[in-house]
Symmetry: C2
Subunit: 197 residues, 2 copies
DNA sequence: CCTACCGATCGGTAGG
DNA sequence: CCTACCGATCGGTAGG
């Protein structure tokens, strides 16, 4: 399937429905209705319902990966700056398209076979980058954490939790959110003020 | 519907399926098959598929609420102790039945009408308790946060993220997890080591 | 808890 | 992008 404007419109409409009702809870006819066409007409543009989900999830995975690449590209940056940068990047990708981000976070498991497995591996790799970054910070004495893997899980689930509550028309600007979340991430790895606390 | 042993078995089987495939992705016949009975036979025990989901979600909502009540019952405790207590309680409820906890977190939106609205209100109330606790801590000078509402959202989504990765047979004991998550929660509200950081 | 069955809807195809 | 249609499956009911 070639990438056309219409294809993008279909995926945008589908993302909105998948977010609201889930992939399984959305029928092909629901998707078509949102575009004012017949259910069968959708197949002039997409190979299958899975195909639509796969495109959305694949693209979002790439966006998160590319954003992380750019955030970590500054080799001179220290662990704290790097962690803050990847958090800001993650928040930016999420707020930039909250519906597709939501589908990526919640519906990737609805993919089947090799496609699902491949996304699972990419998600694991992303988590490992965060984990390794935390370990680096600990090794360099910049961070102090109880458990790098647990801290990474805490951090990434908090970040992905954005899709459950963020609204583009809400009171918080994306930039403010990115800064606050970067701050919260740094706190989770910070050396402690006072061991007596 | 009376609460019978069989009913609980049905809900346990359903929770496992709902977690794996989602509520919409699970058919009544899938549920029956897991119990080695016919699809239609399920209706001797439950009124509807929604009824099964509703029972699971309602019970888990009550468990989280009751656990929070107990955690916050000690009126002499300070903000930090209270926050740590509610986090430990939340982790304990989650790890105690990870499948039903997962259904509560991810599938409550599949409920319809008043039932969904009621759960939405209970979830909001729970989040408000955490938010108010953070505000209290700030007012008393025990905490320093950028934004209580954002910090509460960060914290609760990290807690609920447990259902996406926690495995009872994994390397982390529930008690260790509760302690580590309580520590991470405290870090998110802690006064900072050094403003120059 | 079973068999037999219901109308509705599902994802998808044929052929324009 | 349409009409017409496919077999399969959906949640649920009747009547034992």
């Amino acid at each position: 399937m070639v990438e056309t404007t219409r294809r993008r419109e279909i995926e945008a409409a589908a993302s909105s429905l998948f977010r609201e009702r889930g992939y399984s809870g959305t029928s092909v006819r629901d998707m078509a209705r949102a575009l004012d066409i017949q259910g069968a007409s959708l197949y002039a543009h997409v190979a299958s319902k899975q195909d639509v989900l796969g495109s959305i999830v694949d693209r979002m995975a790439s966006r998160y990966e590319t954003a992380a690449d750019l955030a970590l590209a500054d080799v001179a940056a220290g662990p704290a700056e790097r962690l803050a940068a990847i958090v800001r990047a993650h928040v930016a990708v999420t707020t930039d398209d909250i519906e597709q981000a939501s589908v990526f976070v919640h519906e990737w498991r609805a993919l089947s076979g090799e496609r699902r497995a491949a996304i699972g591996r990419r998600r694991d790799a992303y988590e490992h980058r965060v984990r390794d970054l935390i370990r680096d910070g600990v090794d360099q004495g910049a961070f102090a954490v109880v458990d790098p893997a647990l801290t990474a899980a805490w951090l990434l689930t908090a970040l992905n939790g954005l899709v459950t509550w963020y609204r583009p028309d809400g009171r918080i600007a994306p930039e403010t959110l990115a800064e606050t979340y970067a701050e919260l991430a740094l706190r989770s790895v910070a050396r402690q003020e006072d061991p007596r606390r």
